[in-house]
Amino acid sequence: MAEIVIRNLRKEFGAFTAVKGSTFTIGDGEFFMLLGPSGCGKTTTLRMIAGLELPTSGEILIDGEDVSQRPASQRDIAMVFQMFALYPHMSVRKNISYPLVSQGMPRAQVQARVAEVARILRIDHLLDKGVGGLSGGDRQRVALGRAIVRNPKAFMMDEPLGALDAEFREIMAEELRALHDRMGATTVYVTHDQLEAMQMGDKIVVMNHGVVEQFGTPQEIYDHPATLFVADFIGSPSMNFLHFEGGFRPGSTTVTLAGTRIEVPQLQEEAEGRKLVLGVRPEHVTLTADGPYRGRVVATEYLGTTQIITLDTAQGQIKARAPSGQRASAGETVGLSFAAPKLSLFDQGTGRAFRTAANAGVFHG
């Protein structure tokens, strides 16, 4: 098992730059998520770590060794592909044993390893079948088997659940996570599904347009997004953005929004007469009878334990998540209060979050 360090990693395809200088560290044994919309460079990053693409510049260190220009076969990494890429002309057994055969392991030992892996993944009964007739879940397990059979330094997974139907995805996500916990193997996992990333990951890197937007634990990223993009991408419904113009000084604990003073975490930076954005998660909006900041209820969506209330405010439409028992009817005007310690302030121009007492410990450069 290994620690993977990525430094200033860059990849250009002709005039197009897919990855623009990423830097992050994947701790030993971590389940690490590369998250972002399609085309953000997450798969390219994964392929560079695996050795399927060579970086234009930058370093990839696996266990302290720079492997960035080495071929995949010399990196001791296993990969699970989105479409699984099981060798179609081989049986399940041959598929799983293939990585061992390349190492020249004796036949008896190969058979023992394959049997063990098949037992862990509960595919022992399929070993002598061809891979063509397998169900999606079984293919997934065979692909996992081929990956874990070798005890590689790290696993790369490229949207491995993307090809499964929704119902099965849940089960496989749990199995994957359980398998990881059992083996403690460093895993790099690419996904565009923020829920999957939050649910399974120890750490998440959020990428957009080839740039690392934020790097941290799921909770850090959810509670203290570093950029407007991350704030918008993570969470459903996504964070409310209240646009306003104004400023603050270091040490301020309030901002003025449409003539109303709103409490925020203590600010550590300064801004003057700028376009600002106040970010509020729907669950941090509370409907009150009075209160100076007001909104008019437009619609409610009932979700069982909670409901999503859409309101019109001076800053545009926002959504609040409230207990489903709370009464709110369309057309009614209510007061709104925001949970002060949970708010984020962004610079609209750069998209960057201002440093506050709440998020100061979270940002890594």
Partner: protein, 313 residues
């Protein structure tokens, strides 16, 4: 199953299709039946009019194909010891004796050597080139591919004279190597284009999986790509072999003694002691066999190969 279905053709159209296919089969097979049956006719039967559908089968044609014969004077003929073999007896029946083997065996062997070698060479080079074009960033890839295709745009025989002169200078005229190279040059464009199509259809992930599993690029090609391209390779091989096997014009022009293939030889059987149609027919029949056997062996692949790309997996 319902009585009426959108995807299942109706009984009537199945019958009509069956009838059409049967008719077409008869039309295409008729010349073949003619050739095969003529090979087993006696000389007079082969030219009788109206043609005989029922006749007494004879191996005379085949014996004449593989032997050369001479006519002896009546005394000498009478003084001969009795015939020892069945083919001796057949030849004696027409008042002649066997003088030696004909050159058909040699010519046939030349066809086998040249046809199969040039096919193997075309497939070998074509597969490597197609793989490179399919997977790697080759500078001027599109232009190169078009150039390769363009070699097929004129009939090869249009360059017969330059090739003839070139071969004479290089000492390749009437050699096996020369014919193998020539047929390979003609076939390679077909091989590259067909095989590139097949290899394009094989997802890259398979090779990438093999690379990650610790194999080199070449091992991945050999163990993962090649087995999956087998269908394409087989059908391409058949197309290449059929061309090289049947090629007539260059064979006439460039070969005479040493490396002559069967196609230019078979017509020359006419004229050995008159027009020996049964021998010509027998030659054509024997000549058909290798390609037929080869095609039947690879039939499964060929069918999938011809319809490739029609249905995506």
């Amino acid at each position: 199953m319902s009585a009426w279905s959108v995807t299942e053709p109706s009984k009537l159209s199945k019958w009509a299709a069956g009838l059409l296919v049967t008719f077409y089969t008869i039309v295409t097979l008729l010349p073949l039946v003619w050739i095969i049956s003529t090979g087993f006719k006696s000389g007079p039967d082969s030219i009788s009019y109206p043609p005989k559908v029922l006749f007494e089968p004879s191996l005379e044609g085949y014996v004449n194909l593989f032997t050369t014969r001479t006519r002896l004077g009546a005394e000498e003929f009478a003084a001969l010891p009795p015939p020892e073999t069945w083919y001796d007896r057949i030849v004696r029946g027409s008042g002649m004796v066997i003088a030696g083997p004909s050159r058909f065996g040699e010519r046939f062997l030349n066809s086998v050597i040249i046809g199969f070698s040039s096919t193997a060479l075309s497939i070998f080079l074509g597969t490597l080139a197609a793989y490179a074009f399919s997977r790697f960033k080759v500078p001027l890839k599109d232009d190169l591919l078009f150039f390769i295709l363009s070699t097929r745009m004129m009939p090869p025989i249009a360059v017969a004279i330059p090739i003839y002169l070139m071969y004479r200078e290089l000492g390749l005229s009437d050699t096996h190597l020369g014919m193998i190279l020539l047929y390979t040059a003609v076939n390679i464009s077909l091989a590259v284009w067909l095989l590139k199509g097949f290899i394009d259809e094989i997802p890259r992930e398979y090779e990438e999986a093999a690379l990650i599993d610790g194999y080199t690029r070449f091992q991945a090609f050999r163990k993962v790509v090649l087995p999956q391209a087998a269908t394409g390779i087989a059908s391409t091989a058949i197309f290449c072999l059929i061309f090289a096997w049947n090629e007539y014009a260059f064979a006439v022009l460039l070969t005479s003694g040493n490396a002559q293939t069967a196609p230019p030889f078979i017509p020359t059987i006419i004229g050995v002691g008159g027009q020996d149609w049964p021998a010509v027919a027998a030659g054509a029949t024997v000549f058909l066999l290798p390609v037929m056997v080869f095609t039947i062996l690879l039939r499964k692949h060929l069918l999938r190969g011809i319809t490739f790309g029609a249905v995506r997996k």
